[in-house]
């Protein structure tokens, strides 16, 4: 509890580290903050080409929103996913890449992964706002759902930073962690229904057996993706079981990350 107090007492540092991350990221680039929009647009283009023209897959229209189109359907899940990977990758390296700071000044070290989370949330909010505007141009109405969207953004942020904090400590001991995580995240993305719908897996499960689907749906990111698609693409409230699964996953993973990090942070300076 005293560690929580210390974090709260130094919250201005968190704000400043976040500003450092946000401002430093796109300094000296011509397009600046626009880069954070160009990157998802580029991925959207690639997957749209593959899925629309090669695989001829058309997602069902949003229910009840009525919006249609693979690019919109894709982005409603892709943006939460890229947020997740950016927080995990950035948070996991935040301790090692700030070794100089850790060895020279004392401050609660948890602010480093938290600042990565906060700064990524800033760019993510920008991306989501753009997506929301585009969705509205195509007839959807996500505005009434904004409070619920914010709640799930916070849960996803907790889930991501919790994982990042555990990995950050592991990365101090074994630098293999950051390379390994890159590969795992790539596989994880294809094991989550982002670029293809869950129906693909359901159809396969009918042939192979129900356990395939049960196993597949253990993945908390599957639930998060479903929730964000419900809110943004369909414009309806997410299912209760998905919501509770997200809440539980976020709280458990964050708590584990918090405990791992706060127990190990005293020795970080000498291990780096």
């Amino acid at each position: 509890m005293s560690y929580v107090k210390e974090l709260a007492a130094t919250r201005e540092l968190l704000a400043n580290l976040t500003i450092r991350e946000v401002k430093g990221q796109y300094r000296r680039t011509f397009l600046g903050q626009l880069w954070s929009l160009i990157n998802p647009l580029a991925t959207m283009l690639v997957y749209t080409l593959v899925f629309l023209f090669l695989l001829r897959f058309e997602p069902p229209p949003g229910d009840p929103s009525g919006v249609e189109g693979y690019p919109l359907w894709l982005m409603c899940a892709m943006l939460p996913w890229t947020f997740f990977t950016r927080v995990v990758n950035g948070g996991l390296t935040s301790v090692v890449s700030n070794a100089n700071l850790i060895k020279k000044v004392y401050f609660p070290r948890m602010h480093l992964p938290l600042a990565v989370m906060a700064s990524t949330a800033v760019t993510w909010s920008l991306e989501l706002s753009v997506l929301a505007i585009v969705l509205m141009l195509f007839g959807a109405m996500p505005i009434p759902f904004i409070p619920v969207i914010i709640v799930f953004m916070a849960l996803l942020a907790l889930f991501a930073v919790g994982l990042a904090m555990m990995l950050a400590i592991l990365n101090v001991h074994f630098r293999d962690t950051q390379h390994f995580t890159g590969i795992v995240l790539q596989m994880w993305m294809f094991l989550t229904p982002i670029i293809y719908p869950l129906e693909f897996v359901e159809r396969r499960a009918e042939q192979v057996g129900q356990w395939v689907l049960d196993l597949y749906r253990l993945n908390p990111m599957e639930r998060f993706v479903a929730v964000f698609r419900n809110l943004l693409y369909d414009n309806r409230l997410p299912a209760w079981d998905d919501s509770i699964y997200c809440l539980a996953a976020a709280l458990i993973v964050f708590l584990l990350g918090y405990l791992t990090f706060s127990r190990n942070e005293k020795r970080l300076a000498e291990l780096l």
Binding site: T10, E12, L13, A15, N16, L17, I19, R20, K23, G24, R27, R28, N100, L101, I102, K103, K104, V105, Y106, F107, V172, H173, F174, R175, D176, K266, R267, A269, E270
Partner: protein, 247 residues
């Protein structure tokens, strides 16, 4: 003298030494087969007290554990044995400008560094002019700090740290940098600092500086406390020891 500002009570700090430390999974598996890493006590059973409002010096040869002890005082390292009591808010200055972000301007870095050292935004704003003025970087304050000369970098970092006005300031060999004029300026600032009841603990290799600035001195030798006392006596003992080593 009332209560001491800092109490160092039987402090020891141990490091583990690995033959190769490249921090990969492979080397960890290999290490498991070898015997456990060697232990090395960088600081061994050191105790002393620092009176409030004084300037306290730490001297000793290279590798004697001065920086390690300072890092324990600054809470960057945690002693394996013993305890350290700080009566008041402490700030450390182990390497000037270590919290700077090269792409941000001097002004933005003042806020960043100030908050790392524990200062609230409104307090930084209140002292901003003073900080910029003391640093002497002039119109470069709105330039990214990567365009600074190393001296300017150091001056800005020192200026932020000293204006944080902690009760206890822990300083490691930073007075060795900066030009003559700035050294003089910072020495005056230190004096002003201790005169207002604040405490400075500093490491330096310049015995002349120790004699001039410090009230009390501790001499570390291979991690152990060799002597502690008034600056004059301890520096004299240390000088004699150094002379004997030469011969």
């Amino acid at each position: 003298m009332t209560e001491p500002a800092v109490i160092v009570d039987h402090v020891s700090k141990r490091f583990k030494l690995y033959k190769e430390r490249n921090q990969t999974l492979k080397s960890a598996v290999m290490r498991r087969r070898k015997s456990v890493a060697d232990e090395f006590w960088a600081v061994k059973d050191v105790s002393f007290e620092v009176p409030k409002g004084s300037t306290f010096g730490l001297i000793g040869r290279n590798g004697s554990g001065k920086s390690t002890l300072l890092k324990c005082l600054a809470r960057i390292l945690h002693p394996d044995e013993g305890s350290i009591t700080m009566n008041g808010k402490a700030a450390s200055l182990l390497e000037v400008g270590s919290g700077f972000h090269p792409e941000l301007t001097g002004r933005e870095n003042i806020y960043l560094n100030g908050s790392i050292l524990g200062l609230a935004k409104k307090d930084i704003t209140a002292r901003l002019d003073e900080i910029i003025d003391f640093s002497g970087v002039g119109q470069f304050i709105d330039q990214p700090v990567k365009n600074y000369s190393s001296g300017m970098y150091v001056r800005l970092g020192f200026s932020v740290a000293i204006h944080v006005k902690p009760d206890i300031l822990v300083v490691d060999e930073v007075l060795a940098v900066g030009d003559g004029a700035f050294k003089k300026k910072s020495r005056e600032k230190f004096r002003e600092f201790t005169n207002s009841g604040r405490t400075v603990i500093l490491v330096t290799h310049s015995l002349a500086q120790v004699r001039e600035m410090c009230d009390q001195v501790a001499w570390l030798n291979k991690g152990e406390l060799q002597a502690v006392g008034p600056a004059k006596t301890v520096t004299k003992q240390y000088q004699e020891y150094l002379d004997a080593q030469d011969g």
